[in-house]
């Protein structure tokens, strides 16, 4: 536990020693603001909800989460510090979990900084804040799922750019599997049961419930199992590198 805390602290600090973290936060806030208020027709909707805000998150995260996570293991391998870290009295799973947590905390911070959207909608109307809270929980889990996948792709390569692209492709697949225009296409040549099965693998399908204010245990299990599986795969990949 103590080792995890130490590594989390170091990783978080390393985000903020470079300007990249601040640039990321600004871009994230600008993008969510733009999508919510301009592209999402926030004002024209005439309803007091953050549907326009959360609806875009799978897409905004698609680029930004891999950007946050791509260096996690790729950089560690490239610079040789992985050898240093894993010869410390730290179990590999502790290092993997700690690095993941640090980035997840960073993403949570980005999410917390979107609070003006909550304030705005509360000033303008009378929204159901329970639904908004559920939306935040879902958004946080969604970010965690993307991040765990990025951890995995980051462990596959020494090159951050490769890690980034792989993560975007995998996450894009997780969106498209349940994205309406795509499922509509699939219905033409596949049976509805097949389409539903494929859509069940999509983050969009499982994020929907949260947006409607429902925290369904199946959706929780979905996101947590993606995180668990991707981190486990990270462990397997790292063990593979160490074995040579």
């Amino acid at each position: 536990m103590r080792a995890i805390r130490t590594i989390v602290k170091r990783e978080l600090a390393s985000y903020f020693t470079s300007p990249v973290a601040y640039v990321f936060l600004v871009i994230f806030l600008l993008l969510t603001g733009f999508f919510t208020f301009t592209a999402g027709n926030f004002f024209e909707r005439g309803e007091a909800s953050l549907a326009a805000f959360f609806g875009w998150h799978p897409w905004v995260y698609l680029v930004l989460v891999p950007a946050v996570g791509m260096r996690l293991w790729a950089e560690e391998r490239r610079s040789g510090t992985m050898e240093l870290l894993l010869t410390m009295p730290v179990a590999p799973w502790q290092a993997i979990v700690a690095k993941f947590l640090a980035s997840w905390i960073f993403l949570a911070l980005a999410l917390v900084l979107t609070f003006p959207a909550v304030v705005t909608v509360n000033l303008l109307g009378d929204p159901d804040n329970g639904v908004i809270a559920a939306g935040y929980v879902g958004s946080f889990l969604l970010a965690g799922a993307y991040l765990a996948i990025t951890c995995m792709t980051s462990a596959m390569t020494r090159n951050q750019v490769v890690a980034f692209i792989l993560a975007v492709v995998l996450c894009l697949f997780l969106i498209l599997a349940g994205f309406n225009p795509v499922t509509d296409l699939m219905v033409r040549w596949a049976s509805p049961a097949v389409v539903d099965t494929i859509a069940a693998f999509s983050v969009v399908t499982h994020f929907d419930g949260f947006q409607r204010g429902v925290i369904d245990s199946r959706d929780l299990v979905f996101f947590l199992s993606i995180i668990g599986f991707a981190l486990f795969a990270t462990g397997v990949i790292i063990r593979g590198h160490r074995a040579g």
Partner: protein, 306 residues
């Protein structure tokens, strides 16, 4: 402290480390020599628990590295090849991080950091970020990290690589000093280091141990060992040839004993000969042997040995 039995590591079909066994006790400094790609780094990575061996056993302080990795790792301080460290951290931040991972906190951590900062002369760069440091300082920062918990076992992969001669000298002295109370393994290409710091040396070639002994023993394997070099006015090659094979050097003659163990007798015979003939002696040396000759002879058997 360190016990290695029948260690093997294969990468695909290549046997990078091939049935290596040795042990290192407290108070020993073991120099690990060998050409590039001989398996030195691979062996060290296995001892430190970074790489699992293909077969064989490693125990550190009584803990099997495969079975109780954390207990073994706690006893080890490790300076990896190229002295990697986190470039975005300050020296102090990095040492604090290492200390915390080693389970030190509060006053104990501050004391540990102060001790290694002192030991590795890092005072002047304490608040500088690591990527702004020169190679020597980076190296010493990583060395400080390895020493932070005052480990019983110290494993260093080329600890003097990239340092200037003064720093090399300091690091060698430090190794010798630390070696009194710890078990140390360090790898090097530089043969003088073996004399300067080691109590024992192992030469490894293509994954196998080809020599294991004290620096003096290794030097004794040299062809030169036991030969007597004489530079004297009037010295006659033919007279000396009766005592052993004679080689003509620039202004001197070198006599090789017929039997290496008889080198003292050879020197005695030469002195008698000099006295009898009345040659004017300018210098006379009994050769101890040269490590690099031994090194080349056993790691390049086909080209040097004729």
């Amino acid at each position: 402290m360190i016990k290695i039995e029948n260690l093997v590591k294969t990468f695909g079909t290549k046997r990078a480390v091939d049935d290596v066994s040795f042990s290192v006790e407290r108070g020993e400094v073991l120099g690990f020599l060998g050409p590039n790609g001989a398996g030195k780094s691979t062996t060290m990575r296995m001892i430190t628990g970074f790489m699992p061996p293909s077969s064989g056993r490693i125990s550190v302080g009584g803990h099997d590295v495969a079975e109780e990795p954390l207990k073994a790792k706690r006893l080890i301080g490790y300076l990896p090849e190229n002295a990697a460290s986190y470039p975005d951290m300050t020296v102090q931040g990095f040492l604090n991080f290492a200390a915390e991972l080693r389970g030190l906190s509060g006053a104990a951590r501050r004391k540990a950091v102060a001790r290694v900062v002192d030991l590795c002369f890092l005072d002047s760069v304490l608040h500088q970020s690591i990527d702004t440091l020169s190679k020597g300082y980076k190296h010493r920062t990583c060395l400080a990290q390895a020493l932070i918990h005052d480990p019983d076992v110290l494993i260093m992969d080329e600890p003097t690589d990239g340092l200037d001669p003064n720093q090399k000298h300091e690091v060698r002295n430090l190794i010798r000093e630390l070696g009194r109370s710890k078990a140390i393994i360090f790898s090097t290409h530089i043969l003088e280091e073996v004399d300067a710091a080691c109590t024992r040396a192992i030469i490894i070639d293509r994954g196998r141990i080809v020599a294991n002994g004290t620096p003096a023993e290794l030097r004794g394997m040299s062809e030169l060992a036991g030969a007597v070099t004489l530079s004297a006015r009037g010295a006659d090659e033919e007279d000396l040839a009766k005592l052993g094979r004679v080689e003509k050097l620039n202004g001197a003659l070198r006599v090789y004993p017929r039997d290496k163990s008889k080198s003292v007798e050879l020197a005695q015979q030469i002195i008698e000969l000099v006295n009898r003939r009345g040659w004017k002696v300018e210098g006379m040396f009994s050769e101890r042997g040269e490590l690099d000759e031994v090194f080349r002879r056993i790691t390049l058997p086909d080209t040097v040995k004729k």
